[in-house]
Each structure stands twice: as structure tokens, then as C-alpha cells.
Amino acid sequence: MATFTFELVSPERTLYSGAVDAVILPATEGDMTVLAGHAPTMTTLKIGFLVVTNTPGNGRRILVRGGFADISPNGLTVLAERALPEEELTQEILDHEILQAEMHYDATTDVTIKHAAEATVAQLREAKAALNF
């Protein structure tokens, strides 16, 4: 299978860099799978799992929170505001983040911020369900 270069960088470190078969992105307008030779696309990301496949039938999940994916002819670059590999993820971290988002929701009266916080909570819950916590 054709491979392409994939880079996942968060502000603090580079989490993944190398050739992969496929990457599933949690794009804001719906999940999308990127394969080699994908049309150049730029998309924003929501909270969710990014799945990296480097050998067929074998995926690695990484939770990303917000950011961008830049699909160019040279490969895929994901700039995540925060990224946590599945191994480092615990229920406490997720619960804490859900709690914070809920507090954020309660703290404002601004409709757009409330909306955003609501979406954050929903997406985090979804992530939690995906991990069977």
C-alpha cells in the first residue's frame, strides 16, 4: 500500500513523524480518512480520536483537542493544540476536562461561548464512550 508522510505536532513536542498508510482525522465537518495522494486540503479539527495506521489492520489512537490538518502534496501535517496518545489517557484526565468545560458553560452568558462549551462537553463524552470508561 502506498504510504505518505505524516507529522503530528503539539506546541510542546512532536508526537509522530513518519510514513503511514492512512490517518483518520476528526475534522469539524465530519471524520475523514486521508490516504496517499489525497487532494490538498486544509481543515480544522474538533476534539476526537485521530487514528494512525502504519501497518494494515493496526491502528493507534491519539486524542487531539482542536487544531488544524494541512494535507499537501508533501504529506499530512496536523497541528494539534493538545494531543494525548491513548496510552497516556486516563479516565481522570477526561473527567477533569469535562468538568472544566461544564464549568465554562455555567460561567458565561454569551451564547456563542455556551454553544462552544456544549460542543466540547459532547465531544469529550463521545471520546470517553469510545474508550469504554
Binding site: P11, P40, T41
Partner: protein, 290 residues
């Protein structure tokens, strides 16, 4: 002529100081290594961000709908200076060189009749600047309680800057920090962050991009994030520079103390020898007189 006891005391005190500076140098060296690797780890993100931003921005024609973070407010009357310095001293000319750069910049702007506002990040810059710019300083951001610089700190500062921008409090923002070149070279740098400066040249012009959601919307989320990244990067560079500057300053201090000890030990030995000789002469001449 100081007495022997005075000399002995002085040597002892210089030795104690030397021990302290030596210890500080070693601590700075250990911290430098950590700060340097943090700064290096953050580099890919900032570089990628610049490329991505350049890609989008080159496709956007500046018009009334362009986000103001990119296009500017159309005026440059009010300037905001964000001056990042260290929280602690004893690091050579590190703090004062950043403060001097900011001060010159502020003086020039004020001579042109512009309004200047200053945000100080770090206590030392505030201490230096408040003598002259007490009225202009609008905030002091204290990072003393922060042990490990994280993205949150950059975000916190960026949110404050954005809130000020949204409120129309300034037109142009410039960030002052020290770029880390090596242990002996840190370069005080002024970088304009609002309106965003786009590095062109890295643009792949032939690639036609699909945007999801549309271009404008991506740009409006990307620009504030770019601000955060730039500030975060400046903080990291600054942290590495500070430790580098402290390390070389303390190295110098240790060497100076060593020289001083050598010189004083020499004086001490000479005057001790002189005293012994004097006593001997006295005894001998006393014996001859008998």
C-alpha cells in the same frame, strides 16, 4: 596596610562567594539543558504554523472582510509593547538589554507622537521600565509561581492581548524577548505580532487547496492561535536565554573570584613574610647590640 587578620577574612569571604557563584552556574547549566530542549521541541509547531498561515494568507486578498489581526486596524496610533524578561536577576545584561531595546522603541514612538502601552511579563523588566514608563505600563504578568513553562502560559497572555485588541485598545503589538543563539549569545529581539507578519516564500503556489470550512473561517481561528504560538515560543526562547546568560555571568563571576583570591593570597603571604623578616632583623640586631 590591612592587617593579616583582615586579609584572611577577606580571602575567606571571597571564597564563600565563589562557592555560591559556582553552584549557581551549575544549576543554570542543568536548567539550560531542559529549557533548550523545550525550546527546540516547540520549534516544529511554530515553523509549521508559519507555513500553513503563509499558505492561506497568500490566497487571501486584503479587503474589508479580512480579519483585523491580519490586515490591521488601518491605523498605527496606539502601540502595545509586550516585554518579556526574567523573574530573577544575576544573569548579566540579559534583562537590561531587553529592557533597553523596549525603552528605545518606546521613546522613538513617543517622539513620533504615538501612544504607548506596555505589558511586562516578568518582574525584572517591570522594575527597570517602571522608573520611566510608570504611566504606560498597564499590566505586570508574574510567572514566578510557574515551575515549568507550558502552553497555558502563552495562551493566558495571548488571551489578554486579544481581549485588548477586540476592545480596540491598541493597533500594533510588538513582542520583546531574547532569542537564544548560544550560551554566550542571546539576541534581544523585537517582533511585531499584531497585525500578523506573514513569511512569504514558503508558499507552494501551484497547490490548489480545498478549505473545510471556508478560508475565512479557518483564518479567523488560525490567527489567534498563531498569536499564542508566537508568545509561547518567545517565552521558551527567553527561558533558555536567561539560563544561558546566567550561566556565562556566573562563570565570569567565578573566574573573577578566583583571580581575586590569588591576588589576595599573594598579598597575604608577602606581608606575612615581611613580618617574619622584620622580627628576625629585630632579634639579630638585638643580639648584635649585646
Amino acid at each position: 596596610m590591612p592587617s593579616l587578620k583582615d586579609l584572611r577574612n577577606r580571602i575567606a569571604s571571597v571564597k564563600a562567594t565563589q562557592k555560591i557563584t559556582k553552584a549557581m552556574q551549575m544549576v543554570a547549566a542543568a536548567k539550560l539543558r531542559r529549557a533548550q530542549s523545550a525550546a527546540e521541541a516547540a520549534r516544529p509547531y511554530a515553523e509549521r504554523m508559519a507555513v500553513v498561515l503563509g499558505n492561506i494568507a497568500s490566497g487571501v486578498t486584503v479587503g474589508p472582510e479580512t480579519p483585523r489581526l491580519l490586515a490591521g486596524t488601518g491605523s498605527d496610533q496606539v502601540h502595545l509593547l509586550i516585554v518579556c524578561t526574567a523573574e530573577r536577576g544575576l544573569c548579566g545584561a540579559f534583562n537590561s538589554s531587553i529592557a533597553r531595546l523596549a525603552r528605545d522603541h518606546a521613546n522613538r514612538l513617543m517622539a513620533e507622537g504615538k501612544t504607548v502601552k506596555i505589558i511586562c511579563v516578568g518582574k525584572k523588566g517591570y522594575d527597570i521600565l517602571r522608573r520611566q514608563f510608570a504611566q504606560q505600563i498597564i499590566e505586570l504578568i508574574d510567572l514566578r509561581s510557574v515551575r515549568q513553562l507550558g502552553f497555558e502560559q502563552g495562551d493566558m497572555i495571548a488571551q489578554k492581548v486579544l481581549a485588548l485588541f477586540e476592545a480596540g485598545e491598541f493597533d500594533v503589538a510588538t513582542l520583546f524577548y531574547s532569542r537564544f543563539r548560544s550560551v554566550i549569545a542571546q539576541i534581544p529581539t523585537a517582533q511585531q505580532i499584531v497585525p500578523a507578519q506573514i513569511e512569504s516564500g514558503a508558499v507552494a503556489a501551484d497547490a490548489v487547496y480545498d478549505y473545510e470550512p471556508d478560508e475565512g473561517e479557518i483564518l479567523t481561528t488560525l490567527l489567534p492561535r498563531n498569536l499564542t504560538v508566537q508568545i509561547f515560543r518567545a517565552l521558551l526562547e527567553n527561558a533558555a536565554s536567561e539560563q544561558g546568560a546566567r550561566m556565562s555571568a556566573m562563570d565570569n563571576a567565578t573566574r573573577n573570584a578566583g583571580e581575586m583570591i590569588k591576588k589576595q593570597t599573594m598579598t597575604y603571604n608577602r606581608s606575612r613574610q615581611a613580618m617574619i623578616t622584620k622580627e628576625l632583623i629585630e632579634i639579630i640586631s638585638g643580639a648584635e647590640a649585646l
